[in-house]
Amino acid sequence: MSGLDPSAPNPSAPNRGALDRRALAARIAQDIPEGAIVNLGIGAPTLIADALPAGLEVILHTENGMLGMGPAPEPGLVDPDLMNAGKQPVTELPGASYFHHADSFGMMRGGHLDICVLGAFQVSERGDLANWHTGAPGAIPAVGGAMDLAIGAKSVWVMTDLLTRDGASKLVAACTYPLTGVACVSRVYTDRAVFDVIADGFAVSELFGDTTLDELQELTGLWLRDATGSDETEGMRS
């Protein structure tokens, strides 16, 4: 759904201290407080689970009817009745619970999830998200639970490379791909910087490597507020 394969290299990111996916996952994990109920989207966001500090209790929700999801099973212990939203085998932690799909999506729509982290094709200045469909002629659309997550979680974060493989910015003034949700994203974690969606566009709260604000403005073509010295960001641990 994200177009972001966790194991693929990212040819468009010059190697100047930009974060690779595992490092970015670790950075995002730092912003997830103990006790948070979190849904990690298909693809790169699933790496965040492995980056959470050992012993920190974060409860993972999977759309297909489970809270308290654990990591992939040991070889030989795969249970075909126990999978995540990406249809990969997972495990059950003490404190887990199962429920049907209406209850699972009621948790999203009803605003009970603290955080979800999704991949993206594009995020707009007002927080619109496009991550399900390129709109290309002949492409078969498949939305799954993306729209429910986008409008449901208390905080919707995006994890993505800043640029596509063709060098286009995924942060845009207005999405050109079909939308997943309107004004729903609050924060975008990219390989170059962390962006918060604020009233008048994006604010950069953190730069990775030797990335500069000017460079980001050039790459995105957007005016960006400098919030790197500010504490007024949305992070849940602030």
Partner: protein, 235 residues
């Protein structure tokens, strides 16, 4: 004495007619009623509308039903997958229509059918292509679209254990759409690993009360459990 037990899958699905709307449980392979789908393919009903989360994987189950040319229309949230070639081919050939429904709206529409709700306002899909042509309304400052119930003639679902009244329990994430579809169909047919004595299921833990179930077929331990082999990515 009430008994919803049937001898085999063929008997349980014998009366599915051409043109029927058939709900099929499962999320990927978990909860997919493989034996019932196989029986439906053998039975021959065609011109079917299938309501399910996916549109088939590989060459079995819903994919085989599509390949056999029995499906006219699919209502689902996530048809396109790595191994959805059966659906992809039929769709591109114009042989199968697709109604794409976000997963939560799909679940809630099925639930609404079972619970006698005439329609409901949902925030999912607002401002996107799936809301086109739908009634919109702002309530208490939040935007919604109106969605209608999804009913079926038949639901085919898979559960773990049943008793002769049709009470069901599921296993782990194989529960998914089963309890919703059971309530939304005129006739609900369930395949289970095991039938147990009446009274053997904990009344506090019954997930689908027998009121929603018409026929139960014991298929034994599912083949893929026996094989110890997972159909998704390797662990």
């Amino acid at each position: 004495m009430i008994s919803k037990l049937r001898a085999d899958a063929s008997e349980a699905i014998a009366d599915v007619g051409d043109g029927a709307t058939v709900m099929i449980g499962g999320f990927g392979a978990a909860g997919q009623p493989v034996e019932l789908i196989d029986a439906l393919i053998a039975q021959g009903a065609s011109d079917l509308t299938i309501v399910s989360n996916n549109a088939g994987n590989g060459d079995t189950g819903i994919a085989a039903l599509i390949t056999a040319g029995r499906v006219r229309r699919v209502v689902c949230s996530f048809p396109r997958q790595a191994d959805s070639h059966a659906f992809d081919a039929a769709y591109r050939a114009g042989e199968v229509e697709l109604e794409l429904v976000p997963q939560g709206n799909l679940a809630e529409r099925i639930r609404a059918a079972g619970a006698g709700i005439g329609a409901f306002f949902t925030p999912t899909g607002v401002g996107t292509t799936v809301s086109e042509g739908k009634e919109a309304r702002t309530i208490d400052g939040r935007d919604y679209i109106l969605e209608y119930p999804l009913r079926a003639d038949v639901a085919l679902i898979s559960a773990y254990r049943a008793d002769r009244w049709g009470n069901l329990v599921y296993r782990r994430t194989a529960r998914n759409f089963g309890p919703l579809m059971a309530a939304a169909a005129r006739t609900t047919v369930v395949q289970v690993d095991e039938v147990v004595e009446l009274g053997a299921l904990d009344p506090e833990a019954v997930v689908t009360p027998g009121i929603f179930v018409d026929r139960v077929v014991e298929v034994g331990e599912r083949p893929w459990l026996r094989a110890g082999e997972f159909v998704g990515a390797p662990a």
